[in-house]
Symmetry: C2
Subunit: 645 residues, 2 copies
C-alpha cells in the first residue's frame, strides 16, 4: 500500500519523486555468492534427484545388464554440463544486466526466435512445476511407502501449497533457499561418501562388469543386451539431459549479485556446475555399482541411499527429506520466473498488455493460477509420474538453450562489427558459444526424435500454437494502433461534441431521486430528467408532482411505455436523441442505492442494473452512476457492495 | 419497442399521452362466454384426467374390491364442487374487478392471511406445472407404451417447451385454448356415452357389488376389505380433492369478460362447474363399473377409454391426445398467472421490487425460469409421478380456498356494517361463503393430516419459510424507508458537496487519452489528470511530455507506486483527497477502449476493469466511463462488447 506521505502533489503540475526505492532494490538485497548459489542453483541441482533414474529406466526396461551403458551416457552428460556452463559464462560477461534466453535470442536473432525461446521457457516453467512436484513427492513416497497410490493428490497438494504461499506474498529471500539447497548438497555428498566406502570395502555388485559391457567379449552379456539399439541409448541420453535444466538461472539473475556482478556470477556458476556434475556423476556410478533397478514406488536416489547407509535410518530419511525440500523449492523458482518473463514478453506486445506490469498483484496472481492450473492438469493427465513428463520437459529446455547460445554467437559477431574489431578478438567466447549452440541444437533434435512418440510430439504442437497466439496478440495491437491512427485523421463523433447533455433517469419521486437531482445539478446546470411511464396514470401524477416540487427548474420528460417495459423505451429515447443530435454527448446519470447489506442488495436497483447492461458503451452515451449510501447495518463499518450486482 | 412517434416531448415539462392503449386492452380483447370458458376452465377441467385415478390408487392398494368406496367419495367431491363453486359466485359478485385469493384475503383478513394465500397460490402454480405435465405425459405414455421409462425426460421437455413458448412471447389468446379444451370435453362425453352404452348392454363387471360394499352383508367382501380404515378413506378423499384445483380461475379474471362482466362470469362458472362434476362423476362411475385398477404405465382414463370404445382405435387415441393437450394448456395457465400474482405481491412490498412491473420482459422471463426450474426439480425428485406430487398440491389449493372464502365472510360483514344494513340482507352469500370456508378448512386439515407422511409435510415446511421470506423483504423495505428518512434529517455528505472535482485517470500519453481529455474538458472546465507511475523514470517522462502537449492547461498529478501497483495508489490518492475535502464530490473519468471484437477485448482495459471493481461506489466518488470506439472488425456493423468485461 502506498502511504499518504508518498502522495506529494506537485503544484507545478508534477511530482518530485524524492528518492523512490525501486521495487528490485526494495525487495531483493544484493546477494553474496553463498546465498546466490542457493537461490539460483536450487532448480538446477535438484534435477540430479531424477536424471540418473530417467537414464536407467530406459536401459533396464530391456535388461538389468544394460545398466552399464549408463556410465558412458553419464560421462557424455557431464561433458555437456561443462560445455553449456562454459558458454553461459560468456553470456554473463556479455549481458551483465541479465541475459535470459528470451532477451538474448530477441536481440541477436530477431523477434521470431525470441518468441520461440520465450514460449519454450514459459512452457518449461510449467514443466518445472509439474516435474519437480512429481519428483519431490516420489522422494517422499519412497521414504514412506504407506503413501503409495496417493501420488496424484499429494502432487496437487504440493503444487497448490507453493502457489498459496506465493499468493500470500511470501517473498523470495536467500535464507529460505539456503537450508534445503545446502542440506541437499551436503546429504548427497554424505551419501556418496558412504557409498564410496561400501564400494571400496567390496560391496560392488553390478549386473554386468564394465569389461563385459565395453568389449570384454562376455557372450552372456551380449545375449542379454541384444535388444539395446543405438536409438535406445540416444533415448536414454535424451532423458538424462534433464540434468541440465535450470543451468541458465545464474545468467538470468546477474543483476541480483553484489558488485562486481559478472565476476561473482561467473564464480557462482562455476561452483554450481562443479556441484552439479560431481553429484550427477557420483549418483550415476553408485547406481551402477549397487545394481539399482528403478521400480514403481521407489526412486533410484532412495535405493542408493538405502544401500549406501546400509538401511533406512536417520541419514536415509534426511536425504529423502532434503530431496523433497529442494524439489519443492525448485517449483517455487518457476512461480517467481513465470510472471517475470510474461511481463517482458507482454511489454513487447506479444502477450496481453495487462501482464506487462508484473508488480501488479492481480497480474502476479493470474500468473500463479495459470502456472499451477496447467501443472495440475499435467499431473492428472500423466498420473503424477516424473518420467512420463520428462520427454515434454527436455524439448523446451534445449530449444531455449540452442537459441540463447546461437544468439550469443551472433552477439560476438555484432560486437566485433560494431567496434570494428577483428572477430578473432572474441574467438574464445565465440567458439565456446558456437560449440554450445551446435551441441544443444543436436540434442534438441535428438530429444525431439528419440522422445517423439513418448510425449515430445505434444510440445511440438503446443509450442507453435503458443507462438501463433503471441503473434496474433501482436498483430492485434498493431491493427489497433493503425485503426486509432486512422480514426485520428477522421471525424471523431465524440470529439466533435459541441456540448454534453446531462440526462437523469428517475424511477419515481423518492428521496433518493431528490438526492440524485441535487448531485446532478452540481455536475451540470442543464439537466433533463427522464421518467418512463409504465402506467400512464402514474406518469401523469409524476409530471403533476414535478411542477410542485423544488425541481421545477429542470425539464422532465415522461416517456410512454405501451408495452410496460422500462429500459427499452429509455434506450429508444436516448438513441433517437443521439440520431437527432449526433454532436451532443449524452451523459446519462443513473441513481443507484448502495447499502452495506450485500445479501439484500438485489432488493434495490433492478432497473439501474438493467440500464447499465443495456446502455453501457452505447454510441454517443456515457454513464455516471450516482450512488445513494444507506447504512442499513450499523455493525458493518464500511459500505460494501458486490460490484457484479 | 417504443416507436419514435411515441416520443412526444412536451415543452411544458410533461407529455400529453394522446390515447395510450393499456396493455390489458391491447393484448386481451374482452371475452365472450364460449372463449372465456375455454380460457378460464382449462386448468380446472383438466384435473378430471387424474382425480379419479388418485382415489382408486389409494383404495385398490389394499384390495381391488375397495374400489366400490370410490363411489361415495366421488359423491362427496361432487357436493364439494357445488358448494365451492357457489361460494365463488359470491366472490364474483363482490369483486367484479377480479377477486383472487390474495386480494380477497389481504383486504378482508389482513396482511398475514393475504400472504399465506399468496404464498400458497405461488406454490400451487409451481405444482400445477409439475402435476399437469406429469399427467399429460402419463396420458401420452398410456397411448404409446413404447415411451414407458422416458416419463421424466418427456415431462422436462414438455415443461421447457411451454416455457420456451412463453419466453418467445406467445400471447394468450382464446383461440389457442378453445381447441384442446372443447376437444377434451367433447371426447370425454363421447367416451362416457360409449361407456354408458356398454354398461346398459350388460358389460358391467365390478370387483364388488354396490350392495356388498354398503351393507349387503357379503362375508367375502368384508374379508377382502378388512384393511380399509376410515383414515384410508379420508386419504382417498383428500387425493380426489385435486378435482377442485383451478376452480377459482373464473373469479380471478372477471375483468376479461364482456359486459356485464359479473353476470357473464357467473354464467361461465356455472357451465364450468356443471361440466366438471359431470365429467368427474361419469369417469368415477365408469372406472368402478369397468373394474379399472390403476397400474404403472397406464392411466385410469386410458383404461376406461379402451373399455368404453372396445379397444384402442381412433376415438381412444383422440381422448388421449386431447387429454395431453388440455393438461399442457393447464401448465401454460400457470406461466401466465405466476408473474401476475408475483407482481401484485411485489407492489405491496413483500417480494423484490423488481418483480412489480410484470410487463417488463426481464421480470416475466425470471418468473418463467423460476417456475419451470422448480417444476423440473419436482419432476426429477418425484420421478415424474403425478400421484407422488398430488399430496403437495392439495394442501396449497385448499389453504387458498379457505382463506379466500373466510375473507368473503368478513367482506359481507364489513359491507353490512359500512352500509349500516342488517347482516341478514346478505344472509345467502354469507352462509354460502361460511359453508365454503368451513368445508375448505376441514378439508385443508384432512389433507394435511391424511397426506402428511406422503409429502404434505414438505408444503408445511416450505409455506412458512416462503411467508417468512416475504415478511423479511417487507421489513427490509420498511427499515430502508426509515433509514432514508433519518438520513434526510441528517447531513448528507454528497448533498453538501460545494463542488464536483473531475479527475481523469490516464495510463500514459496515447491518442485514446487525448480523446478522453477532450471529452473531459466538455464535462468540466476544471479537470485534473492522474497518472500512476509504476516506473519512476516513465513517470518523469510523462510529466515532461505533458508540458509540451496541448493539455498544458490541465494539472497532471503523478502518483508514485513503490510497490508497482496501479490501482491501489490511485485508490489511496482519491481516498486521501476525499478525507481532506469531504465536501467535494470526485467524478472519476475512466477511459475505456470499446471495440467490436469481443474475443480480443481482454487485450485492452486491464486497469479500467480493475478501477471499476475497486472504486465503484467508494464514498465520495462517482465514476464516469469515457468510451473510445474502435471499429476493429468492419464486418460487424455494431460495436458490441460484453458488459461484464
Amino acid at each position: 500500500m502506498s502511504s499518504p506521505s508518498h502522495l506529494l502533489v506537485n503544484r507545478f503540475k508534477r511530482i518530485v519523486f524524492g528518492s523512490p526505492k525501486r521495487t528490485d532494490q526494495a525487495h531483493h538485497e544484493r546477494l553474496g555468492i553463498p546465498i546466490a548459489l542457493a537461490v539460483f542453483s536450487a532448480d538446477g541441482l535438484s534435477s540430479v534427484a531424477y536424471a540418473t533414474e530417467e537414464i536407467l529406466l530406459i536401459l533396464t526396461a530391456v535388461t538389468a545388464a544394460a545398466a552399464v551403458y549408463s556410465l558412458p551416457i553419464g560421462l557424455a552428460i557431464v561433458a555437456l554440463i561443462m560445455i553449456v556452463a562454459a558458454s553461459y559464462n560468456q553470456t554473463i560477461r556479455a549481458y551483465p544486466t541479465g541475459g535470459g534466453s528470451y532477451i538474448v535470442s530477441k536481440e541477436n536473432l530477431g523477434k521470431l526466435p525470441g518468441l520461440v525461446a520465450g514460449a519454450a521457457l514459459l512452457i518449461d516453467y510449467v514443466m518445472t512445476v509439474a516435474v519437480s512436484a512429481a519428483a519431490g513427492i516420489a522422494a517422499l513416497v519412497a521414504a514412506i511407502p504407506a503413501l503409495q497410490g496417493y501420488e496424484v493428490p499429494l502432487c496437487l497438494a504440493a503444487i497448490w501449497f507453493v502457489a498459496w504461499m506465493n499468493l500470500r506474498g511470501v517473498k523470495e529471500s536467500g535464507s529460505i533457499f539456503a537450508l534445503p539447497t545446502y542440506g541437499f548438497v551436503l546429504m548427497v555428498f554424505v551419501m556418496l561418501a558412504f557409498g564410496l566406502y561400501r564400494v571400496m570395502t567390496g560391496d560392488w555388485h553390478p549386473h554386468a562388469s564394465v569389461l563385459a559391457g565395453f568389449g570384454g567379449g562376455d557372450p552372456a552379456f551380449y545375449e542379454a543386451t541384444k535388444g539395446i539399439t543405438w536409438f535406445l541409448i540416444l533415448r536414454a541420453f535424451a532423458s538424462g539431459c534433464t540434468a541440465l535444466s535450470g543451468l541458465e538461472a545464474v545468467s538470468n539473475g546477474v543483476q541480483a549479485f553484489k558488485a562486481p556482478e559478472d565476476k561473482n556470477a561467473i564464480k557462482t556458476l562455476s561452483v554450481a556446475r562443479t556441484l552439479l556434475f560431481t553429484m550427477f556423476a557420483g549418483i550415476t556410478v553408485l547406481a551402477y555399482g549397487f545394481n539399482v533397478i528403478p521400480h514403481d514406488g521407489e526412486t533410484v536416489m532412495s535405493l542408493i541411499a538405502a544401500e549406501a547407509f546400509g538401511g533406512r535410518g536417520f541419514l536415509y530419511f534426511l536425504v529423502q527429506a532434503f530431496t523433497t525440500g529442494i524439489l519443492l523449492l525448485a517449483t517455487n523458482t518457476a512461480y517467481a520466473d513465470f510472471p517475470r518473463l510474461s511481463s517482458l514478453i507482454a511489454r513487447d506486445g506479444f502477450l496481453p498488455r495487462r501482464f506487462a506490469n508484473r508488480g501488479d498483484s492481480l497480474v502476479f496472481h493470474w500468473g500463479i493460477y495459470i502456472l499451477a492450473g496447467i501443472a495440475s492438469l499435467l499431473i492428472v493427465l500423466f498420473n503424477g509420474s516424473t518420467h512420463h513428463l520428462i520427454p515434454l520437459y527436455a524439448v523446451g529446455v534445449f530449444t531455449a538453450f540452442t537459441l540463447s547460445q546461437t544468439g550469443m554467437v551472433v552477439h560476438w559477431l555484432k560486437e566485433a562489427k560494431a567496434k570494428s574489431e577483428s572477430v578473432l578478438k572474441h574467438w574464445w567466447s565465440l567458439s565456446l558459444n558456437a560449440l554450445g549452440a551446435f551441441i544443444c541444437a543436436v540434442i534438441t533434435i535428438v530429444v525431439a526424435v528419440a522422445k517423439f512418440t513418448q510425449g515430445a510430439w505434444i510440445i511440438l504442437i503446443v509450442l507453435p500454437l503458443f507462438i501463433g497466439y503471441m503473434l496474433h496478440v501482436h498483430s492485434y495491437y498493431d491493427r489497433f494502433k493503425n485503426k486509432v491512427e486512422a480514426l485520428l485523421k477522421e471525424h471523431l463523433t465524440m470529439d466533435d461534441a459541441r456540448r454534453v447533455k446531462v440526462i437523469l433517469t428517475i424511477g419515481g419521486l423518492t428521496p433518493v431521486i431528490d438526492h440524485a437531482m441535487r448531485v446532478a445539478h452540481r455536475i451540470s446546470k442543464d439537466v433533463t430528467a427522464v421518467y418512463v411511464a409504465v402506467e400512464p396514470e402514474i406518469g401523469e401524477k409524476v409530471a403533476r408532482k414535478w411542477d410542485k416540487a423544488r425541481h421545477s427548474g429542470t425539464e422532465l420528460v415522461v416517456v410512454p411505455s405501451p408495452y410496460r417495459e422500462v429500459v427499452a423505451p429509455l434506450k429508444e429515447y436516448l438513441e433517437q436523441m443521439h440520431r437527432q443530435e449526433p454532436h451532443t454527448l449524452i451523459n446519462l446519470l443513473v441513481p443507484v442505492i448502495v447499502t452495506n447489506e450485500p445479501f439484500d442488495d438485489y432488493l434495490h436497483n433492478g432497473y439501474a442494473d438493467q440500464i447499465l447492461r443495456e446502455l453501457r458503451f452505447s454510441e454517443g452515451i456515457i454513464i455516471t452512476e450516482i450512488p445513494f449510501y444507506v447504512n442499513m447495518n450499523p455493525d458493518a463499518t464500511k459500505i460494501v457492495i458486490d460490484p457484479a450486482q
